[in-house]
């Protein structure tokens, strides 16, 4: 299922993460807030990757207190995929 998804992360500087998943491929990742350069970098590197592969790579990345923007992106994708399967 193709969908645009908006996620409110926790424990990180970014206040919102949104992206598209089209036929299982991730596009147009956008962080609101957070370290501008780092989040833009993560977003560009994730562009066009299989959503599940992005989760595998970014899950568990730590910035402070067990949270990080990449890890929160992984959580957002996982939530989106779970909702799409439901």
């Amino acid at each position: 299922m193709d969908r645009h998804y908006t996620y409110t992360p926790e424990g990180v500087c970014a206040s919102e993460i949104c992206f598209d998943i089209v036929d299982g491929i991730l596009h147009n990742v956008k962080f609101t807030g957070g370290c501008r350069g780092n989040t833009q970098g993560v977003a560009l590197l994730a562009e066009g990757m299989r959503a599940e592969d992005v989760v595998k790579r970014l899950k568990g990345v730590d910035c402070h207190g067990g949270f990080s923007c990449p890890d929160q992106l992984a959580k957002a994708i996982t939530a989106c995929l779970a909702e799409s399967r439901a």
Partner: protein, 299 residues
């Protein structure tokens, strides 16, 4: 904190504030852009039959060496190569892609587009913002948010104008070596300069951003800065005293503990305490003027 140095405190509410400082200019264009961006939250991704545009997601089947591989391109980002992406523009789903230097032959399997709806009352209500159930209410909400953002910046400038006026009109005892707060600030700064290594004067010139870097000018600037900080803290201390409030070094220590930071020495704690009083004064000023700002919408 420091010795009592104010003989007479001038009432900050008498300050003459330039009208422009109380004016919160809110750009209607910026508000409309944020409104449109909020609508993106509800965008859908739909297959389309017309020609590919930038921003479309195109699925291609490319034939290479007898094998067919499927790729998905976010057209316009250039990640698949500018030449191929330029060539795709205007082509529809089902179209053949001729083999050229930059691409194997293939065909366009599908074209999908992000469809952003216009913001409606129903969508505004779905944003889940308290009291927002229509587009107009959402627009007002965004204007208020923008006004508050501008106000935060203006409040800093306003506090400085008011503080300078109060410093100018209040009556202070001389502030110098015989003042405990002054001595601690001066000593603490010199310790910082030594910790930086190199010339004290050069470090001081950098720290205070002085253009005249001659030795005596640097030390004179430091003495003036220490005295100014003691006077500013005294303003906060006077208002806090009127309100029955006081800050101690324990309050500063708690801040360091809460932030998980190593606490400073006694001189650093004293400086931290002065900062709490300076912030107290600024907060009193900000609270007093918060209702006096007015929003001006500009195109």
């Amino acid at each position: 904190m420091s010795d009592q140095i104010i003989r007479q405190l001038w009432d900050f509410r008498q300050s003459e504030i330039p009208e422009k400082l109380l004016e919160l200019k809110v750009s209607q264009a910026a508000v409309e852009a944020r409104l449109a961006a909020a609508a993106e939250r509800f965008l859908t991704i739909e297959p389309v039959s017309d020609g590919i545009r930038r921003g479309d997601i195109a699925a291609l089947e490319l034939s290479e060496g007898g094998e067919t591989r499927r790729v998905q391109i976010n057209v316009g980002l250039g990640f698949a190569g500018d030449a191929l992406e330029e060539r795709l523009l205007g082509l529809c789903a089902g179209a053949e892609i001729p083999a050229e230097g930059w691409s194997a032959p293939g065909r366009i399997v599908s074209v999908k587009r992000r469809m952003v709806p216009a913001m409606t009352d129903e969508l505004a209500g779905r944003l889940g913002l308290e009291g927002v159930s229509t587009v107009e209410a959402f627009r007002t909400y965004l204007q208020d948010q923008e006004a508050r953002r501008v106000q935060r910046g203006k409040t800093q400038a306003l506090c400085e104008v008011v503080t300078k006026a109060v410093l100018e009109h209040s009556d202070f005892a001389d502030v110098g070596e015989d003042n405990d707060g002054y001595r601690r600030l001066y000593r603490g700064t010199v310790a910082q300069l030594d910790a930086m290594g190199g010339s004290r004067e050069e470090n001081l010139a950098k720290m205070l951003r002085l253009t005249d870097q001659s030795g005596e000018a640097c030390w004179e600037a430091l003495r003036a800065q220490c005295a100014d900080m003691v006077r500013r803290a005294a303003l906060g201390q006077a208002l806090a005293s009127q309100d029955g409030t006081a800050f101690t070094q324990e309050d500063v220590l708690r801040q360091y503990r809460d932030a998980g930071m190593e606490p400073p020495d006694e001189d650093g704690l004293a400086a931290g305490c002065m900062n709490l009083y300076i912030q107290y004064f600024q907060q009193k000023v900000a609270d007093y003027y918060s209702g006096r700002f007015h929003t001006v919408l500009v195109p």
